[in-house]
Amino acid sequence: MEKVMVKGTEAIGEAAIRAGCRHFFGYPITPQSELPEYMSKRLPEVDGVFLQTESEVATVNMLYGAACTGTRVMTSTSSPGFSLMMEGVSYMACAQLPAVFVNVVRGGPGLGDIQPAQGDYWQATKGGGHGDYKLIVLAPATVQEAVDLTVLAFDLADKYRTPTLILADGLLGQMMEPVEFPEFRDLSTLPDHSSWAMTGAKGRKPHIITSFDIDPYILEKMNLELVKKYREIEKNEVRWEEFKTEDADIVITAFGTVARIAKSVVEMARKDGLKVGLFRPITVWPFPYEPLKKLAEKVDLFFDVEMNMGQMLEDVKLAIGGEKPVAFYSRMGGVVPTPNEIYEALKKEFGRRE
């Protein structure tokens, strides 16, 4: 298939349609409004439904309703908007409703700004809403990967009956790159949800979908069912990329846009004869604890780089378990670090420890 030049946000939209998504509900917020705009134009061409909602609160509940009927459904938003969706996401996780969310993360906290950031890592991976739940969180680093992970997000949502999240950022959303789109999914081949979906109780008992039981012993059973599912996901769905780690003395840990920048840093360091590699979680939940732990056996120093105050850093340290030092470099507030500044910081850190 030929490659086409496309913007990150629009690439995610087209990938969703090719994955069989025909329902999109969304509310404008910078820097992701091109995605709902794209869907508003594109979905009617494939007999799909686009609806601009009155708020992110309404959006997530429309997703809840559409997902109840067993259809593939999606929304996209940016940080403050995703915060507003948290109650509904918690409901959907408990009610075991598949849906795909896209958070094009911007600078925060509060109103923040509209520049790229990674400050929503904790919200995305540690829960975000109330109660015990997890989202499968995929963090693309290129536009092509955003396409591939969007398709995967729908498949995993259906497979595990759970909401999934594409954790992108303003840089990836606004960037144009050549991508190869997958073929259109034949809608008749999508997973069959007739055993639980609300499709009308014709010739069968009613299907009830709730995130509720007043009996604590029954609710505990529901909780345990979720835990079992999350353990299953942790076993099967951990994804990560290692770049030049085979002989590395120093390994940079980074996700999303920063990981992409860190690749340039690896190349710069290698030219100078420094053995630097990159470890990039693709699923930030489930986090690749084991592969990172394994890497710690042969690496002298880890260098975590993020566009936040050190959120993934906690998971990196958890994986490494104090065996090896973990240094940290960050920019915040929507400032994107350059390869040069990361490299300089890395050299300084390395020199200090030599």
Partner: protein, 250 residues
Amino acid sequence: MKKLLYKMPESLSGKEFTYCPGCHHGIVHRLIAEVIDELGIREKTLVVAPIGCSVFAYQFFNMDGTIAAHGRAPAVATGMKRARPDLYVFTYQGDGDLAAIGTAEIMHAANRGEKVTTIFINNAIYGMTGGQMAPTTLLGMKTTTTPYGRDAQKDGYPMHMCEFLKEAKGVAYLARTKVTTPQDVEKTKKAIKKAFLAQVKGIGFGLVEVLSTCPTNWGMDPISAMKWLEENMIPEYPLGVFIDKVGDEK
């Protein structure tokens, strides 16, 4: 010859209602079930229960159902209807759910003319949480959060949802009723039927507000509660049909 005059509607599950004695939820549930039976749409109808005393509504109706987050039933119903326009969707909501936390969702669903139906129970109080002030609480009315009576200067005025909604162009049927007498029960059933027909015929959004009693939280016996409703709620919330684009059945 024996003739069966009264039976459990097929659209009710048969599960015993959990409502307090004298509460009007049960009457309205039954009327909705009768209407769905008469329209023959039970197997194609989805119920969206609210947060409040009627959180268990999904158990009482014999059809596919869910519970929406507080106030969000119209958004959930919108998602369902947009995904499955061939099905019928109704929300059942109380005054806290619809007229306080869910005001944005009901206004926009109505204004978009979503082809869904909403049955709105207005009993002027929060029932399930134990009798706090609702947006529809009357002035001077004592609740657990207005122990000195609702004061307009401090607590604002009773919320008139039908009067707000009647300006929304997407609304196809809009009425306010009560169920304190057999005649009122009949009128309410007709209104509920029209609110469903607005959806079945694809005309637009339908809503019926039913003024109801809450003897437990009003601190009255059921008979006094009905009398109180007649004397105090009707002057504040006049009954009537505000919008009817459905027309009369031939």
